[in-house]
C-alpha cells in the first residue's frame, strides 16, 4: 500500500510448447502451440479465423462454439494441445463456397440477430444440435415415452440454452432453427 511499488515474485516462467496437426474447415495446419493455448485463441490469433467469439472465456455463453469431430463444443475450454489429428469446423466452414448453410440463410430470413456477436456460436451450436436430435438424443424436456424427437419450440429453447444472446434475439433464433428443423 501507500506508494509501495516494488516488483516481487519470480520472472514469468517460459512457456512449454508442443507440435501437432490440427484440421480446421478441411485444411491441415501443422502448428506449434503453447500448451496453455485454447482452441478459441488458436483459431482467432493464430489462424486468423475470427468467427468464433470470446464472450466469457468460462464456458458460460456459447459464443465460442465450434464443431469438433462433428460435435458442438466450447472452444474456450478446449486446450489446442489435446487436438492432434482432430477435425474442427468453425462458422467459416459452414457455407459451401458462396452457398450459405441452410441455417445461415434461415438466420438472415428470420432476422435472428441484432449485433451478431453471438451468431457464429448460435450457428455452430444449431448445426450440432440438429445432428444430436436426428440421432435421437433426448433433452431435459423430451418426454420419456417418446421414440423420436419432435423439435418444437420448447425443445429448441432447451437444447440451445448453452448459447446466450445479449440482444435477446431468441424469438427469431428459435424461429430460424425451427424452420430448418422441419
Amino acid at each position: 500500500m501507500n506508494g509501495e511499488a516494488h516488483i516481487t515474485g519470480p520472472e514469468a516462467p517460459s512457456p512449454i510448447t508442443a507440435d501437432l496437426v490440427l484440421s480446421v474447415n478441411g485444411e491441415r495446419y501443422p502448428i506449434t502451440v503453447d500448451t496453455r493455448e485454447t482452441l478459441l485463441d488458436t483459431l482467432r490469433e493464430r489462424l486468423g479465423l475470427t468467427g468464433a467469439k470470446k464472450g466469457c472465456d468460462h464456458g458460460q455463453c456459447g459464443a465460442c462454439t465450434v464443431l469438433l469431430d462433428g460435435r458442438r463444443v466450447k472452444s474456450c475450454l478446449t486446450l489446442t494441445v489435446t487436438l492432434d489429428g482432430r477435425r474442427v469446423v468453425s462458422v467459416e466452414g459452414l457455407a459451401d463456397g458462396d452457398g450459405l448453410h441452410p441455417l445461415q440463410a434461415a438466420f438472415i430470413e428470420h432476422d435472428a440477430f441484432q449485433c451478431g456477436y453471438c451468431t457464429p456460436g448460435q450457428l455452430c451450436s444449431a448445426v450440432g444440435m440438429l445432428a444430436e436430435a436426428a440421432a435421437g438424443w433426448p433433452s431435459a424436456v423430451t418426454p420419456e415415452t417418446d421414440a423420436g424427437v419432435d423439435l418444437d419450440e420448447e425443445e429448441i429453447r432447451e437444447r440451445m440454452s448453452g448459447n446466450l444472446c445479449r440482444c435477446g434475439a431468441y424469438v427469431n433464433i428459435v424461429a430460424a432453427i425451427g424452420e430448418v428443423a422441419r
Binding site: P15, I16, D57, V81, A140, E158, S161
Partner: protein
C-alpha cells in the same frame, strides 16, 4: 496461467504411475472444470495427464443387468444411452439437467464426479477459503451463502457439491472403480464424496494420484419408475439450488421400497436414508411423504441466506414422490 507439460495417457496404470507422488500433476478429461480453474488460478498444475483417450468410453452391460460406465464416457452419451434411459431414467434426466449441450459433449463421467464446488469464494483467489487454502477461513459462513449447504456442513466449510449426475448415482448406490498405485479398488456411492469436517480441502475419499476408471450401476428393478427434479434460478443451464433423485416402488398403495438423494444441500450428494426408512412400508400418501421429508430435514442447519432451501427441498421431494406414486 502457469506453464505445464502435457502427456497423453495410454492406459490407467501408466496414468497412475505418472501422477502418483506428484501432487502438481493433474488428470485432464473433458477440461470443462479444470481448464476454467486453471484460468482462474485456482488449479496450478505443472503437468496434465490427459485421460480422456483411455479406452473406457463405453457403457457395457454385464450378465446380471449391471451397467458398467467407463470413466471416459461423455455426459451426452451416458444420457442418450438406451439402456440407461429405460432402466435408470433418473440418471439420464440428472445428466440432461446439468450444464449445456456443448459442455455435456465434452464432460466425462470421471470429471463430472471430481468437479469442484462453485462456492464463489473458492473460485476467487483474492479471497480466503479453507478449501482452496486450508486455515485461511471461510468467508461464506457470513457472506454469500444462498446457494450453499443446509446439511452436514462444518465450521470450516459450507460448500455444496455441484454435480447433478452424482446425486442420481448416490440414489442408485453406484460403485466407483478406482485405480491407484496399489492396484484397483471400489468405492460405493454416496461414499465417494466427503462431508467437510475439518479437512474441507478434500472433496472425496480418493488419495493423491488415484484415477476413476469406471462407474458400476447395479440393477435396481424399480428404478424404471424414477425421476430427477432440479430447481434452479433460470429454466435451463444453471446449477441446482436444490434437486432430488427419487426411485419409488409402490404396490397396493403401500411403499415397498424407495431410493432418495438430494443435491444442492451438502458437500456431498445427500442420500436421504432417514426418509427412505420412514417410507418403507408406509402408505403412499402425501401425508406420509411429508413426514418422511421432515424426518430427513430435522438435521438441517440453515445458514443466514439459505433457510428457504428447507421447505423447498421438502416440497420438491413430496411433489416428486406423489407424481411417481400416481404414475404407478
Amino acid at each position: 496461467m502457469r506453464p505445464f507439460s502435457y502427456l497423453r495417457a495410454q492406459d490407467a496404470p501408466s496414468a497412475v504411475a505418472t501422477a502418483t507422488g506428484r501432487p502438481e500433476t493433474m488428470y485432464l478429461a473433458g477440461g470443462t472444470n479444470l481448464v476454467d480453474l486453471m484460468r482462474l488460478g485456482v488449479a496450478v498444475p505443472d503437468v496434465l495427464v490427459d485421460v480422456s483417450g483411455i479406452a473406457s468410453g463405453t457403457v457395457e452391460e454385464t450378465g446380471d443387468g449391471t451397467l458398467l460406465v467407463g470413466a471416459g464416457v461423455r455426459n451426452s452419451d451416458l444420457a442418450a444411452d438406451p439402456l440407461v434411459r429405460r432402466r435408470q431414467p433418473l440418471l439420464s434426466q440428472a445428466v440432461l439437467a446439468g450444464a449445456s449441450g456443448q459442455i455435456r459433449n465434452m464432460a466425462t463421467v470421471g470429471g463430472n464426479l471430481m468437479q469442484r464446488t462453485r462456492c464463489p469464494y473458492f473460485q476467487d483467489v483474492t479471497k480466503p477459503c479453507n478449501k482452496r487454502l486450508p486455515g485461511t477461513g471461510c468467508p461464506a459462513r457470513t457472506g454469500e451463502n444462498r446457494n450453499l449447504a443446509i446439511l452436514g456442513h462444518s465450521d470450516s466449510c459450507v460448500a455444496t457439491h455441484p454435480s447433478d449426475m452424482a446425486v442420481a448415482l448416490a440414489a442408485l448406490g453406484a460403485i466407483v472403480h478406482v485405480e491407484g498405485a496399489d492396484g484397483p479398488r471400489t468405492v460405493p456411492m454416496p461414499g465417494l464424496h466427503r462431508l467437510p469436517g475439518d479437512e474441507p480441502e478434500r472433496d472425496t475419499v480418493l488419495g493423491q494420484g488415484e484415477l476413476i476408471t469406471a462407474v458400476e450401476v447395479p440393477p435396481l428393478p424399480f428404478a424404471g419408475r424414477s425421476r430427477y427434479r432440479k430447481v434452479r434460478d433460470r429454466a435451463s443451464f444453471a446449477f441446482a439450488v436444490v434437486s432430488v433423485a427419487v426411485a419409488l416402488d409402490v404396490a397396493d398403495g403401500i411403499v415397498r421400497d424407495c431410493r432418495i438423494a438430494f443435491g444442492g444441500v451438502a458437500h456431498a450428494p445427500w442420500r436421504a436414508e432417514t426418509a427412505e426408512a420412514v417410507l418403507r412400508g408406509a402408505t403412499a400418501t402425501e401425508t406420509e411423504f411429508a413426514r418422511a421429508a421432515e424426518a430427513e430435514l430435522a438435521a438441517a442447519r440453515p445458514l443466514p441466506g439459505n433457510a428457504f432451501k428447507i421447505p423447498l427441498v421438502r416440497n420438491v421431494l413430496v411433489r416428486t414422490l406423489a407424481d411417481l406414486a400416481e404414475a404407478s
